[in-house]
Symmetry: C2
Subunit: 335 residues, 2 copies
């Protein structure tokens, strides 16, 4: 049952093959498959049968080429398993779906080196990119070649880019004020342990602490994981045993601290108050539930998608002052 002439190469089944098999023209096949009018019932059925018989599937490229109605955006994140990025990704997906867009997701596995390769390969697959990058702007620029790019949680210098700013200054101030109101004066912080630059969150903490006449120097670094948070808390308490409250770089670390506190026999919040950052759903699963300087991750993803959409269609992009997510204190049982 050799079909056609030539070697039985693994050639793709095209619309022509279906047309020939059904004894009609391409256009009729197209009509049958796309449910258009101007086709007789019996013909339509015959074409559909032929298509199924041959295992025909239209080429998305050919189709996309002629009717340019599908937009696809790329979403680049360092680690989908990190709950923060999970939430951002889920929100971005939700917003994209509402617009009928497709989202190609790339997980760079926490390796900044992968980012550029990803961007390279992404370039020919998507119309715009939303993502969390850690590499330099000029590199981003080079590998992105005039494609709209929206950065998450990071400032941008080049005019080409947009970025969603995370402003936690006020939220952290609230957190410290909250702790002070509860009678705490010895407040520590678990910062991230990347010593490249002092983290913004640390700066916010320092400012807030000073505002209450509190020594902002009780800080320890912690690896960005629950285990890291536990180890960090041990180190912090060893260096500053007087501490009665701790603010952490994010919720993951806070959860680790919570767990470690219990292991150390310090009850929360009586012996040790804990406040995290990000406001992940994860925090609500803890007992006591985690207090957190909460980010509206849904708004974060939403803004990013909205902006990349404007950049795409040429509509006036949102001004930087609107591209901002404000963190607010969400007090719970742990403080």
């Amino acid at each position: 049952m050799v079909s056609s002439s030539g070697p039985d190469s693994a050639r793709r089944v095209t619309i022509h093959d279906v047309a020939r098999s059904a004894g009609v023209s391409r256009q009729t096949v197209s009509r049958a498959l796309n449910g258009k009018d101007e086709i007789e019932r019996s013909t339509k059925q015959r074409v559909l049968d032929a298509a199924r018989e041959l295992g025909y599937r239209p080429s998305r490229f050919a189709r996309g080429l002629v009717r340019q109605d599908t937009t696809t955006i790329g979403l680049v994140i360092p680690d989908l398993r990190n709950p923060f990025f999970t939430e951002v990704a889920a929100s971005a997906l939700e917003c994209a779906r509402a617009r009928g867009w497709h989202v190609v997701v790339y997980d760079t596995a926490d390796r900044p080196a992968e980012e550029l390769g990803t961007l390279q390969v992404i370039g020919s697959q998507v119309d715009g990119v939303v993502g969390y990058f850690s590499c330099a702007e000029d590199e981003l620029d080079r590998y992105t070649r005039g494609m709209p790019l929206v950065l998450i949680g990071r400032e941008h210098r080049m005019a080409r880019f947009s970025s969603i700013r995370i402003d936690g200054q006020e939220g952290v101030r609230e957190a410290v004020a909250h702790l002070v109101a509860k009678g705490h004066t010895m407040i520590g912080m678990l910062d991230h342990d990347n010593r490249a630059e002092p983290s913004l969150r640390r700066e916010w903490f320092t400012a807030a602490a000073l505002g209450h006449g509190i020594d902002p120097g009780r800080v320890a670094g912690a690896e960005q994981s629950a285990d890291g948070g536990g180890a960090g808390l041990r180190a912090l308490l060893a260096a500053h045993p007087e501490i009665t409250a701790v603010f952490t770089f994010n919720d993951i670390v806070a959860v680790g601290a919570l767990r470690e506190a219990r292991r150390l026999g310090r009850s929360v919040p009586a012996d040790l108050a804990v406040i995290g950052f990000d406001g992940l759903q994860l925090g609500a699963l803890m007992e006591p539930p985690l207090s957190s300087v909460a980010l509206d991750t849904h708004r974060l993803g939403s803004l990013a998608v909205e902006q990349v959409g404007r950049l795409l269609t040429g509509a006036d992009p949102l001004p930087p002052e609107d591209l901002e997510v404000r963190a607010v204190l969400r007090p719970a049982g742990s403080s």
Copy 2:
């Protein structure tokens, strides 16, 4: 500064425009952009400048049409925020990336009605689909029109499909044996509350319990969330106060039960042992860490991607008996 003739339509900038602007031919532009040889340095630079000037970006459709070397798969899940699917998705992404594939992710927001629409729209965008669906097979078939489809955690009847089976029988047996060895005889279960069919996990539990002469009737339904787990535990303990250990439908519910146990003042595992199902990373964050009948989610995603790849290339697909993930007991502090 009106360019070209005609209305200044929002026409796409094509390779021709760049070629004209740089005073060369299409092919030379293509060479410059793709970093090929056979082009002079100065010419290349001139083309690159022109491209940047015009904001040119190659059409992925035209490119994909001619060099058919990119494969894209669709990943359909009910809820990315559900940690189980997060882990599966992350694994699938990882495996796809290793093969250089792109992954379009669709979150159906727990609405089965969305599944078909998604499949419909997906059809012209991806080469194959991996996903967790809850709609009927014939519907899946209709909307998928000869596209490879791999089902996760669900049996299939039609030969067209593949599915990754989850076998927890042995793991649940281990769990019950473990509890019995610890002296428990009154073991309850928090099942899911969807009353359509009795869950497989419940059947496994029943069989395992009977194997040890234990009454398998101490069961309560729980909504699939932490809060649901908490409420379920309360209901279960109210109906069967004698219970000293509980097995749950999944880890999410278990986490809720863990939290509720603490609120009720029952210490874990001394007063109440808890064993979940899935083996999510989430469980390790609890204190005590959650025991669980653990699934290798990485293998799950990996198998699915592998299989859809084989279906895609026409290689011999994996036989059903290899498409199986076995759950094993991973004991921890909560039991």
